[in-house]
């Protein structure tokens, strides 16, 4: 129905760099969505997100054509941040602390905001499908951390990146569920200890 999509003719590049204000609004909406969903759960209304972002509903739907798309975008954004963090950690000093520092960061974040993904999966969204590319990137980034830590003798031999992620997800939830800071610290400590090289 849109044969050529030619609508500028002299616009330098085809797939729209997105006007400056549009870009700004998109970011604001994403931010607002993250905050609102973290605070009220995925059941929060799209209007609430719009209000928080200070834009009209129409704007939210222009950028994310579906509520699910918005949810996905939030998830992807969060994962992208994790990827960046993991890469930075891999660059840093000692392998062991690099990996465990990263994990603690993940857990901390999840604990205050909301768990790795599961408000989504609880709502019936197939998380795996959604995150596509990013999932691969995250896996790769963690693979590096894992390999380094393994080589340095700081990590159990039988675990790879996938296992580390699963364990991190678990630790996040343990942290969320723990009724107080002391219990939280112990529980997380226990779980992470499970990852360390056994004597």
């Amino acid at each position: 129905m849109t044969p050529i999509e030619r609508h500028g003719a002299d616009t330098p590049d085809a797939n729209r760099p997105l006007r400056a204000d549009a870009r700004r609004n998109r970011a604001r909406v994403l931010e607002a969505a993250e905050a609102v969903f973290a605070a009220e759960g995925v059941g929060a209304s799209t209007e609430a997100v719009a209000r928080r972002a200070g834009v009209g509903i129409g704007t939210v739907f222009r950028h994310f054509p579906t509520k699910e798309a918005l949810l996905e975008a939030v998830l992807v954004a969060r994962m992208r941040a994790l990827v960046a963090h993991a890469r930075a950690a891999a660059q840093g000093g000692e392998p062991g602390p690099a990996l465990f520092g990263f994990l603690e960061h993940v857990i901390e974040q999840s604990a205050t905001k909301n768990a790795f993904a599961d408000a989504l999966s609880g709502a019936g969204v197939d998380v795996t499908e959604v995150v596509g590319d990013v999932r691969g990137e995250l896996l790769a980034a963690i693979e590096v951390l894992t390999a380094q830590a393994g080589a340095a003798g700081a990590l159990r031999g039988d675990v790879g990146a996938a296992e580390v992620i699963a364990v991190a997800v678990g630790a996040s939830h343990a942290a969320m569920w723990a009724p107080d800071a002391k219990i939280r610290a112990t529980a997380v400590g226990v779980i992470l200890d499970g990852l360390r090289k056994m004597a």
Copy 2:
């Protein structure tokens, strides 16, 4: 939110004798609710529950005055089952296997059905408030298991019942997130290893 939930059990005549068929219906609804919410998430409609239970909606609401009340009842029922399981385990043979066997049961269950609680907490319900009595009972039952295992030298010294529960919650989620059986087994193993006595 509905503290006076306490229904029957050992008060043979008191509050509500509850006609035989009414009792049966209550049970059917609860069962249906568990199945439906497990399958479709907490967003599933109350009508779907009624349909599955083979009763009219009116009946569902007669027994559980609110959708939230129904959700809570499901959660409480599941925890009650855990309590029973934990007590049975404590009666059995060796302390170490008793505790870890129980934990594996919990994790397995959560993994196939759905996590310990969090569809609820994802929906903004304060789980801690809700479960009131049962939470105490579960804690007590696990305390017994924990103490026995600790005395037998099968459990890290610095963890009590609360920590064990948090770790179990974590392990459940690790299991749910793991993409395949092999990774699931390793991740759960790692976490439970964290609980064992360190050399």
Copy 3:
């Protein structure tokens, strides 16, 4: 998902005779829909229909799960009325007047309310699909009228029921379009004359 749909056990017959008040409401909604869509076009809101019927929106959607379903139901109802009228006409006296009287009735009705179907087809609904059974019944009923009139020498030899319907649809629109009564009468007369036996 609804294995048996057993919800009465002693309700005499299975597929719900529909409670008395429900039946009444369904009829009211249908009537209201006919009036509202006739007056404001198919673009009229479902709420307007509910208001006119004196019921809540929910009730409209309980009976007709979709706006399209409501539209279809209106169309089917109207066609059913035509079928009844055609059958009655076939019972009556002379074949020629029976057919042409019926056609005039159809045209008159369409002219005041709105055309045979096309607000729908204008809205992209595939009318043919929708009316299924009724279409067949109408065709059959008109077939009878047509055959009788043909035998009586009051109808052109080369037209059957389908052609008669098409011509009636045409005449309805001619009537709707005509700017005044005199022109309307002449135009309709011209078209119906086309159907009569040529000398």
Copy 4:
């Protein structure tokens, strides 16, 4: 509703010179609108029209300040084409064939695209109001054809231009409704026969 539509034509410099590209865009939009509305009904979105025309929405609204204005413009354009066709026909050879050829053209067009006007009238727009001038022109052009055909004895004596138009509208709809080509041909034939001189 936009009476001052009168644009250019024989006023070479007056109201708006209208830049060359603007003129081109106006035409493109009109064309696109005709195609889109024909294909998807009047419910089609203005954006769809813009997309099809290869312009931004803003441009559509600059030329036609309202969706209704756009709809009207499409209708007027179509009628203008008919006027031209009618005038050409009047110039041609024998009166009878001239009139009936014209009518067949009208019917054919309507049948493939969509009926004379009624998606509009179905949407609650008062078509008569809208077309103002053009309606008069069309009437006049057909008056000529009618008079010629009448004088040549090829047309019933009691019908004038208005009746012919009404009948043409009817025939268009008969054609649209007919389920197959054979029935369509017969039904249209019947209606047009009604217009011919009776023996």
